[in-house]
């Protein structure tokens, strides 16, 4: 508040300012606004994804704040690779590079669920088999490192493996991994019984409803953004089922 006290009453009246300064100001401001309006709208470019640096380098670059750097990098990755209306362009996105980035980001902040949510729900939606497979394997491998905390994304990739990749053995492998590796009592029982859900003769929508409904009911997902993402996913599957 001292700053504003020091400003108070120190100024001359506006009439003391020469007219040409006001004219100068109005012209410059108009030019700035017109210049901005004339620029093309910013778009995300899949081709811009650079190679991920080594984890050691990222740790140095984080200046002792790896968690913050992880969050910022995740936003940066999200900012140019999954935008409204242009996700179709990400057919061109290099899935190996994407996996590298997600892996590094997760290594900086192992407690974060964000890279796994992004891999299983955003990038795995890209209609490219190699991307879906690479993302699924990424989620699975990362899950094995900390099953009791990283199980949430596994259900999505198991359903994806069964329906999008048409690979039931792979889906069952993921589900078995869940039942074999999750030991915490805090994880809902149905999450450990994904195999039964997958073996039932259900469509993708029904399975997703059970899984996402279970996730939401369990209170595991609290972030409004993630709840929105899950709801959007169900809506998309409903639209797909209607066709």
């Amino acid at each position: 508040m001292e700053i504003f006290k020091s400003l108070k009453g120190r100024d001359r009246p506006l009439s003391d300012v020469p007219l040409w300064v006001y004219v100068f100001m109005v012209i410059a401001l108009s030019c700035q606004m017109l210049f901005h309006a004339a620029q093309p709208r910013p778009v995300a470019l899949a081709a811009d994804l650079p190679h991920a640096p080594k984890t050691d380098f990222l740790h140095i670059a984080s200046l002792g704040e790896p968690v913050t750097l992880s969050k910022v990098l995740m936003l940066w990755l999200q900012a140019f690779d999954y935008q409204s209306g242009i996700s179709i362009r990400f057919m061109d996105l290099d899935p190996v590079g994407l996996r590298e980035w997600l892996g590094k980001i997760l290594a900086l902040d192992p407690e974060s669920q964000y890279p796994l949510v992004a891999a299983s729900q955003m990038y795995a939606d890209i209609p490219r088999k190699d991307t879906q497979l690479i993302m699924s394997e990424f989620v699975w491998k990362e899950f094995l490192k900390d099953p009791n905390k990283r199980w949430r994304a596994m259900g999505h990739i198991a359903i994806l493996a069964k329906h999008s990749l048409n690979d039931l053995p792979l889906a069952l492998k993921y589900a078995k991994s869940m039942s074999d590796n999750i030991t915490s009592r805090n994880v809902p029982g149905w999450a450990k019984q994904m195999q039964f859900i997958l073996l039932e003769d259900m469509g993708e929508l029904e399975e997703a409803r059970i899984y996402i409904g279970g996730l939401l009911a369990s209170g595991e997902v609290t972030s409004p953004q993630e709840i929105h993402l899950l709801e959007e996913r169900l809506l998309e599957l409903e639209k797909k089922a209607d066709k």
């Binding site: 700053i3 020091s6 400003l7 120190r10 100024d11 001359r12 009246p13 506006l14 003391d16 300012v17 020469p18 300064v21 006001y22 100068f24 100001m25 012209i27 410059a28 401001l29 030019c31 700035q32 606004m33 210049f35 901005h36 309006a37 620029q39 910013p42 995300a44 190679h51 640096p53 080594k54 050691d56 380098f57 936003l75 940066w76 999200q78 900012a79 140019f80 999954y82 935008q83 409204s84 996700s87 955003m122 409004p224 953004q225 929105h228 993402l229 959007e232």
Partner: protein, 263 residues
């Protein structure tokens, strides 16, 4: 009688010369050289850490480092010089002379601009070892305009706040926001963000509004130009256009504040 025949530009030139000389007196040149050498060492170290693309990593690291170093050097130099002038009553003395305030302002701006030019040239000479001359030239022109924007912004903030901490914070916040605003806008419109939530919609509107009045610094001085030689004439036109317009706008705002200032 002799004063009557002086060119109106004469006070501006004189003030600019004195301001530029201050850079030499305050040992700015050795400081810039030390920072430059540190950057070269940092880039070499980063290069040794990499398995592939060592040259690309070196160019990216030194480009980003020199950009932020240049911004910090010029910002702190301008703020420090102006605070000293305020404290030493040098500003009162100059304004007691029969010269318009605008001459003082433009003289100062020209002096600081010459220092920004010197820093840019020095940085570019080193960057020639890391990238092609055309791309270094584009990077250099862009850095010069970026430093010019920071210089004018620093002057404006100091005229407004009169204190170094407040002025530096304001410059830093505006600079940072100008660098990340495009990314924030893209994230704000992403599908993961909840739609029709008032706070989000409001934030998107605020960010869209800010984009109209802040310079798009995310399109300035890209290390990518040095690494992949992707800089084009369109980038050059953009940085020159945006640079000229924004320095003009900040100058007008600074003059408005300066003319209202009671000394």
């Amino acid at each position: 009688m002799k004063n009557r025949h002086l060119s109106p530009l004469q006070p501006i030139i004189t003030i600019a010369q004195i301001t530029a000389q201050e850079g030499i007196k305050t040992k700015l040149i050795p400081l810039v050289v030390v920072i430059l050498l540190f950057g070269v060492m940092l880039a070499s170290f980063a290069g040794t850490l990499s398995v592939v693309e060592a040259d690309a990593i070196k160019s990216a690291v030194i480009g980003s480092y020199l950009r932020i170093a240049g911004v910090l050097i010029i910002c702190l130099f301008v703020l420090n010089a102006q605070v000293r002038e305020l404290n030493d009553k040098g500003l009162d003395l100059v304004l007691a002379l029969p010269i318009p305030r605008s001459s003082y302002f433009f003289g100062k701006l020209a002096g600081f601009a010459s220092i920004a030019f010197f820093i840019t040239v020095l940085f570019c000479l080193v960057l020639l070892f890391y990238a092609s001359p055309q791309q270094v030239a584009l990077w250099g022109i862009s850095l010069f305009f970026e430093l010019l924007i920071v210089t004018t912004l620093s002057l404006l903030c100091l005229f407004t706040f009169n204190q170094l901490p407040a002025a530096f914070t304001a410059v830093f916040v505006v600079y940072l926001l100008s660098r990340v605003l495009t990314s924030l806008i893209l994230v704000g419109h992403g599908p993961i963000m909840p739609k029709y939530v008032i706070v989000n919609e409001l934030m998107n509107m605020v960010m869209a509004g800010l984009a109209f009045v802040l310079p798009a610094l995310d399109r300035f001085t890209n290390s990518e130009w040095l690494v992949y030689s992707t800089g084009t004439t369109a980038d050059l036109n953009f940085v020159v256009g945006q640079g000229v317009i924004y320095v003009t706008l900040l100058s007008a705002a600074a003059l408005l504040d300066f003319y209202r200032k009671n000394l």
